[in-house]
Symmetry: C2
Subunit: 190 residues, 2 copies
């Protein structure tokens, strides 16, 4: 299982138990098996709602049902419960939870937030760190080693946002591009 799967599994596990009535269901099933209706009566919920909760618990692998006559008998599946709690006790397992947090994910999130479907900049991020993500993305439109006139640079940047002058200035200020001849020639730095 990949680490991201593991993360998703753990998240689903906690979400499954993060509800008052589902937690009570686990408590009830810990003593004995129940039909859906019996659980619904014990909890004071409708049968449909109870069924919905059981479906969530089953999806997380916490309960299972066997059919018996008219009824579905639900019982507790202690394996997942034990696996998860064991994982929480091992401290060296916890850092793996942050594996999904990578620069790639962060950058994709920023780009998804501030670019529209055509790749234009909807808004400029307030946070500098996010703005740098935008600039790093924008500068990829220029080839390394190639020289550009100011007009060429402006036209390329205008495809991202009408305020191409701001982009042009910040690309230089943040050292993504350099210029010489008072702005006659531009080139990409990183």
């Amino acid at each position: 299982m990949t680490q991201e799967d593991q993360f998703e599994k753990l998240l689903a596990f906690f979400k499954a138990l993060a509800d008052e009535n589902r937690l009570k269901i686990i408590g009830l099933l810990a003593s004995r098996s129940y039909t859906v209706e019996d659980l619904a009566d014990a909890l004071g919920l409708g049968a449909s709602t109870t069924s919905h909760h059981l479906a969530k618990l089953a999806k997380a692998g916490l309960v299972s049902a066997r059919t018996d006559g008219h009824y579905y008998i639900y019982s507790l599946q202690t394996d997942v419960l034990k696996d998860m709690s064991r994982q929480m006790l091992q401290e060296d397992e916890l850092p793996k939870l942050s594996a999904p947090v990578s620069e790639d994910v962060f950058e994709q999130k920023v780009l998804a937030t501030f670019l529209d479907s055509e790749g234009r900049i909807k808004a400029f991020p307030m946070q500098e760190k996010k703005y740098l993500v935008i600039l790093r993305h924008v500068v990829k439109s220029f080839e390394m080693g190639k020289r550009y006139t100011e007009k060429q640079v402006s036209e390329t940047l205008a495809a991202f946002n009408e305020d191409f002058a701001l982009l042009r200035r910040d690309l230089v200020d943040y050292k993504f591009m350099a210029r010489e001849g008072g702005g006659r020639e531009y080139w990409r730095l990183e």
Copy 2:
């Protein structure tokens, strides 16, 4: 600690961890301590949102903060994590989760659902079991041993719902009240 406190604590624990970003925070803090801003950057969230998440985790006792200069340094509190996972491993602890499930709780829930803030019946439950809770509640407006005219009964019931005739009939049908003289006198039965 009472069992209900224990239940609330466990529920708060699961709710605290039932969020993608809060789970990632736990993962990050498992490696080292972070400031709020660093966490916000790593997660691609605003500082206020991150602060909100940390507050939830802190309330569940999962993280703690110490102040250092301008910064608040958040770190993981492994005790609660260990306590909770240990509890899940002990099967005899689980049935206690269902302790909050009592008739009282059920009745209160039904009443909260179907009565408005002034105690009037918003809607009539479809489920008979819940309707009985309503009737049992309504009949408390009448004193045991006292006789009432139909007009008195109707006026008292009208305070609960405009369909006082339905309530009057069902109170009799379900044996909460009795009448004689073809409806000239009513009295409470249970």
